[in-house]
């Protein structure tokens, strides 16, 4: 007796199709907002030179601890550019953060901060921020220097390089998304990479 079996369950499957389409459209919607994050993360734009705003003659160039108030050559107080409260151009950019990591190693920041763990300089991975933890404060700390040993890098780094360092330093302490952070370095392993360290978000702490 030949048996007709193939087609019986055809009808019930139509409702499945509706469910599948709804799931697919939902996931598409979710996908689009993830995609926009990716575009920002992967941008590689190279900061071409802007006309030099602060044209001042730098004071003596030796790297001694930064005085609280930088004096220009002829004694007038400096017009320190007010830094707007921004996250910095490289906050959400993986390329900028990777360049920040390169500068952190090349300019021997690890000499005092030792890859974020702290040594002569305070640790950068924990949540104790003496001079403020958001981008503008870190920018000021790097350019002006701080009493207690942090030298002023004002004339030693261009503004973009400082912003890259700022973006990288923030990822050391858990700021920003995990997929932005840098992976392991191609040299001896000092600590697990920024990408894989679970660090609590920073908060301000009073100066000792």
């Amino acid at each position: 007796m030949t048996r007709r079996t193939a087609r019986r369950d055809g009808v019930t499957t139509q409702s499945w199709c509706g469910k599948i389409c709804r799931i697919v459209s939902l996931s598409l919607l979710g996908g689009i907002c993830i995609v926009s994050l990716a575009c920002e993360r992967e941008k590689r734009e190279f900061a071409t030179s802007k006309p030099a705003e602060s044209s001042y003659v730098p004071t003596s160039g030796t790297l001694q601890p930064g005085p609280t108030m930088v004096q220009s050559a002829n004694g007038q107080p400096l017009n320190i550019p007010v830094i707007p409260a921004t996250d910095g151009p490289y906050a959400g950019n993986a390329y900028g953060i990777a360049q920040g990591q390169r500068l952190f190693d090349q300019f021997n920041c690890s000499g005092c901060h030792s890859h974020g763990g702290g040594g002569m300089g305070p640790p950068l991975m924990d949540q104790d921020w003496i001079y403020g933890s958001d981008a503008a404060h870190i920018f000021a700390t790097i350019t002006e220097g701080r009493p207690g040993g942090m030298p002023s890098f004002r004339s030693k780094l261009t503004t973009d390089q400082v912003w890259m360092l700022v973006a990288y330093v923030q990822t050391l302490s858990g700021h920003g998304r995990k997929d932005l952070r840098t992976g392991r370095r191609d040299n001896m392993q000092m600590r697990s990479s920024e990408q894989n360290t679970q660090t609590p978000p920073p908060h301000a702490v009073g100066t000792q």
Partner: protein, 337 residues
């Protein structure tokens, strides 16, 4: 075999499209061997190719008695006559023979241009992302070991031995006119050599994809006579002459107090940065930015002010200098003979 290659190489000289900067216009012993190997293989292949094409052409277009439509079914299946079997057998045998000869020639050429154990000059090349750092490591006395960037002078007629390594990614050290390429691999020390027979300026380029500016990572080999090379070597060893006139001293101050001294070094002054090339004798070099620009004052100014527009992604940032600072800086740098 060798004379046959030289004759072939001579035949190729007048071909119009061979420019000066080419592996087919060899001026090094190694590249001469390779060029003659190439011409030997080229003419052999051409002959074989022509024969095969003639056979194919004749097989396809020879006259036949009746049209394909009415080819009888038995004709489709009958085995081919013995002569066709014989021809295919002979052709295969000849192919094997030619290939065997080619392999043997390869071995002899490879042996002929093997890297010599010792050379007149030992140079250690450290390839970095997008420029070349060379250290003349032959001399035992450290003060006599000269280190230069991107422009390497060598004495003519002497074998120069290189030890290649890389600081970051894989690069490839290659001067088409002088020898084949050798990769600089991080974690490895590879050896290369060449001997320039005719003096001249030869252009080399990184040949292994190494990132954003792989295209602008060239270097220059200047092959010159023995005494010119020694004169150049001693001149490069000398520290920078201290500045006297006021304009250049202002430029020096901008250099020392500005961002330049963080990365570049000038022997004889306070600047000791090792991240970028050494600029002690910048003015004596033919090109800047790893062979990207000719070394002229306005090119230097354009490169300092806006490096990221010329080589986007390079480690050299675009500087924020007022035009006055820029002019005095360039004046100072032009003085570094």
């Amino acid at each position: 075999m060798n004379s046959f290659c030289l004759v072939m190489a001579a035949l190729a000289q007048p071909l119009p499209w061979i420019g000066e900067h080419s592996a087919l216009d060899p001026s090094g012993t190694a590249s001469k061997h390779v060029a003659s190997l190439w011409w030997a293989m080229f003419w052999t292949s051409l002959v074989v190719y022509v024969i095969v094409m003639i056979a194919l052409g004749y097989a396809a277009f020879r006259r036949r008695t009746n049209a394909p439509a009415d080819a009888t079914s038995s004709e489709r299946l009958t085995p081919a006559p013995r002569s066709v079997h014989l021809t295919v057998g002979i052709a295969t045998g000849v192919t094997v023979l030619i290939l065997f000869i080619v392999v043997v020639t390869d071995f002899f050429t490879a042996r002929a241009i093997a890297t010599p154990a010792t050379g007149a000059v030992h140079i250690k090349i450290i390839a970095r992302q997008w420029w070349w750092y060379a250290v003349y490591s032959g001399d035992t006395v450290p003060q006599q070991q000269l280190s230069v960037a991107n422009e390497i002078h060598v004495p003519v007629g002497k074998p120069i031995v290189f030890t290649l390594t890389s600081r970051d990614v894989i690069h490839s050290f290659w001067v088409p006119n002088l020898n084949g390429k050798t990769d600089a691999v991080p974690g490895y020390e590879s050896n290369a050599w060449f001997r320039a027979d005719t003096p001249g300026v030869y252009r080399g380029q990184c040949a292994e994809f190494c990132g954003l500016e792989h295209a602008k990572m060239a270097f220059t080999i200047v092959a010159e006579s023995e005494e010119q090379y020694n004169k150049w070597y001693q001149a490069q060893l000398a520290p920078a002459v201290p500045t006297t006139d006021s304009l250049r001293s202002q430029g020096e101050r901008v250099f020392m107090t500005g961002t330049c001294s963080s990365c570049h070094a000038i022997r004889g002054t306070g600047a000791g940065g090792t991240l970028g090339p050494e600029l002690t004798h910048l003015a004596s070099q033919r090109t800047i930015a790893a062979g990207t620009l000719q070394n002229t004052p306005d090119n230097l100014a354009r490169w300092i002010l806006d490096a990221q527009r010329i080589k986007p992604g390079a480690a050299m940032p675009s500087q924020e200098l007022s035009s006055r600072d820029l002019n005095v800086l360039v004046a100072y740098l032009e003085g570094l003979r």
